[in-house]
């Protein structure tokens, strides 16, 4: 979670939210949240689990989000 926050703090183009899945079950269902942390970029579920900083940036900066 912290990497997402750090990324948002470092770039004016990035916003980041933690969402407590059990409190927002309808939203969590719509994102197929099964295990946590589940990372969703621009509204599309991407992956589950913590990853190193370089991998995190590789994934969120992937051309798929252009």
């Amino acid at each position: 979670m912290l990497l997402a926050y750090k990324t948002a703090l470092a770039s004016p183009r990035v916003r980041s939210a933690a969402i407590e899945a059990t409190e927002f079950p309808a939203l969590a269902d719509s994102m197929d949240v099964w295990s946590v942390p589940r990372i969703v970029v621009n509204g599309v579920p991407q992956w589950d689990g913590a990853v190193p900083e370089r991998v995190f940036l590789d994934r969120v900066l992937a051309p798929a989000f252009e």
Partner: protein
């Protein structure tokens, strides 16, 4: 009101002493989604307010305010983490308790830094970002 055991409170107080700039926490309250069946009967908004006020009590550099349905929030309760009072897009949706209280503290510590703790090469890559990104991370307190 205390939200940590005494030994943890001292540790969090020490961490917050490292803040280089002020951090404001905006607690946004409003209509809440019905929790899962069997979830404990908790007033999530009131508890969120209690946690945030307890955290703010540990540092002069951390302040908080509470608003009903302010602009810029999708659901409630929520917390905006505002470095020097500015909205840079950091949110926590829900009650930060258990393991996730650590995420909120981590957000405050990072927001309280004048320089990012990301690696220089990461900052370089982010500087070249030419589109908007919204990163949502679904978490649970355990």
């Amino acid at each position: 009101m205390a939200i940590f055991p005494p030994e943890d409170e001292e540790r969090v107080r020490e961490l917050l002493d490292a803040l280089e700039r002020s951090v404001e926490l905006l607690v946004a309250l409003g209509p809440e989604e019905a929790p899962l069946p069997g979830a404990r009967d908790i007033d999530f908004g009131a508890e969120t307010q209690r946690v945030v006020s307890g955290l703010a009590a540990l540092s002069e550099r951390v302040t908080y305010r509470v608003e009903e349905e302010p602009d810029g929030f999708d659901r409630y309760p929520a917390i905006a983490i505002l470095p020097e009072g500015g909205d840079v897009g950091l949110r926590y949706y829900g009650l930060p308790w258990g393991y996730e209280l650590g995420s909120l503290i981590g957000a405050v510590l990072e927001a309280g830094r004048r320089e990012s703790s990301l690696r220089p090469e990461s900052l370089e890559r982010l500087a070249g970002l030419e589109r908007d990104l919204t990163i949502d991370v679904f978490v649970t307190p355990t």
